[in-house]
Amino acid sequence: MNPKDLKYAKTHEWVRAEGDTLLVGLTRFAVDQLTDVTYIELPKAGAKVKAGEGMGEIESVKAVSDIYAPVSGEVVAVNGALAADASLVSRDPYGDGWLVRVRPDAVGPLDHLMAAEDYSKQTEGQ
């Protein structure tokens, strides 16, 4: 269920390389765990984010969780549709529910992230 062409952080974000930028979102596992998403707070375009550090928060009826930046770089676009309807992230986490587009500080393979298979192993039985 986790697309094979994406790379995954252990904190449940995914990254898709698109030209010289990276699209970032949350995994199906993460949004299913949260359910009932009510609000998503994201960095503004132009903000610098650092891999492994908090870049936003996602709130459900039950609780609030941090969203971590999977890579270091500059936010070049933010998914504005989520401000109007945060539940979009639950309906289509790998498509219209993307979070931000980041221009990475360093170009290269995303070796610190996991392949789909390894991420699936991490979430099995959770």
């Binding site: 359910t35 009932d36 009510t38 609000y39 707070e41 928060e57 709130e59 009826v61």
Partner: protein
């Protein structure tokens, strides 16, 4: 960790399980919002078997209960239920309870207590029996309790039992028959909707739940139970109630009968009308970020005036709601306040409780 007689059903139906007050219970089966809406618009069921169920027998059981529970009991008729508090000598709340007069001769009474307080309240009663001729029996582990709540709950009860719950007044109870088994049904609940709760032998719980599922009653978890009771402004022990809060602070003075003698009365007479103790208020927000338990409340001008005890995004109203304890000079209805939500201020207004009242009440 304890389990309830319904536990196998929770596991096979995808319940997301958590340890709640020592019992393995479902937070949700599908979605808190879906389960919440089912109860507000149709009907849902909850496994509340973790709640403590005590029965009282003996000629002095009313005297015993009267001594330890704050509400008036002498006029509680057979077949009626009343909400009360158990307080310690200084007026702090040990638990909030439902007391049932089950009638009969000799008299039989019952009490439902919070799971987290069951051992404490049992010990409190046994340590304060003043030689009364009465005994307490803890039925919790040999029985189950299911709550069925929502606009369709009463009609559904009429299908299940040999007696029609629509004949029960609110906070009334009767013994009824469910597929050949004697059960206790009361028109009570913790959601702000009409409905009933049934106590029944442990072995009958799974068949009842299977029947409810067959009748398309939505299974609901603790998550929806919490959002529903919060909208209805029903206090939750450990959040709005504790042994350092008295019933007047909590806005529960109507459940205290100062004309009778009971443990805590002298302190409560002194504490009543004490204008310096924090009081429970409702907060309503218009933004998207919910204030949560522990968040600090600031008055206009920035003075810290209290803390949130429960808060969520309201599924019914789609804006944040919360309950908080505020210093009395800052607790007037209509006052704007700010909640510090993870480092940032969010605007709230002090509003009348409850947030939600079902149509017609």
């Amino acid at each position: 960790m304890a389990i309830t007689p319904v536990h196998p059903w929770h596991i096979t139906h995808g319940g997301r399980m958590v340890n709640f007050a020592g019992t393995d219970l479902p937070v949700q089966f599908t979605s808190i919002v879906k389960e919440h809406q089912a109860v507000r618009t149709e009907v849902g069921w909850f496994d509340v078997s973790h709640m403590g169920r005590f029965s009282f027998t003996g000629p002095d059981c009313v005297k015993w209960l009267n001594q330890l529970v704050t509400c008036r009991l002498r006029d509680l008729q057979p077949g009626r239920v009343r909400y009360g508090l158990v307080c310690k000598e200084d007026g702090g709340i040990l638990d909030d309870v439902l007391v049932y007069n089950l009638g009969g001769s000799p008299a039989k009474w019952a009490m439902v207590v919070n799971a987290s307080n069951r051992a404490k309240i049992k010990a409190w009663f046994l340590n304060h029996n003043h030689g009364f001729q009465a005994s307490l029996e803890d039925q919790t582990e040999v029985s189950a309790m299911i709550a069925v709540q929502g606009p369709q709950a009463i009609a559904l009860g009429n299908q299940l039992f040999d007696r029609d719950p629509s004949n029960l007044p609110y906070y009334g109870s009767f013994e009824a028959n469910y597929s050949g088994i004697g059960v206790l049904v009361s028109r009570t609940g913790y959601t702000g909707e009409d409905g009933w709760e049934v106590s029944l032998p442990a072995a009958s719980a799974l068949p009842l739940v299977e029947r409810l599922d067959y009748l398309k009653v939505m299974a609901c978890g603790l998550g929806a139970r919490d959002t529903l009771r919060l909208e209805a402004a029903m206090p939750l022990y450990g959040h709005e109630l504790s042994d350092s809060i008295d019933p007047f602070q909590a806005g529960l003075g109507r459940s205290v009968d100062l004309e009778k003698d009971f443990i805590g009365r002298d302190a409560l007479l002194r504490r009543r009308g004490h204008a310096d103790l924090p009081v429970r208020v409702g907060l309503s927000g218009s933004a998207k970020r919910a204030a949560r338990e522990g968040d600090i409340i600031l008055a206009e001008g920035g003075a810290e005036v209290g803390r949130v005890t429960s808060g969520t995004m309201s599924p019914t109203f789609n804006h944040p709601i919360a309950m908080a304890y505020l210093r009395p000079g800052f607790a007037a209805l209509g006052q704007p306040v700010a909640a510090i939500v993870r480092g940032r201020e969010e605007a709230f207004t002090i509003v009348k409780l409850p947030f939600y009242k079902r149509p017609g009440r």
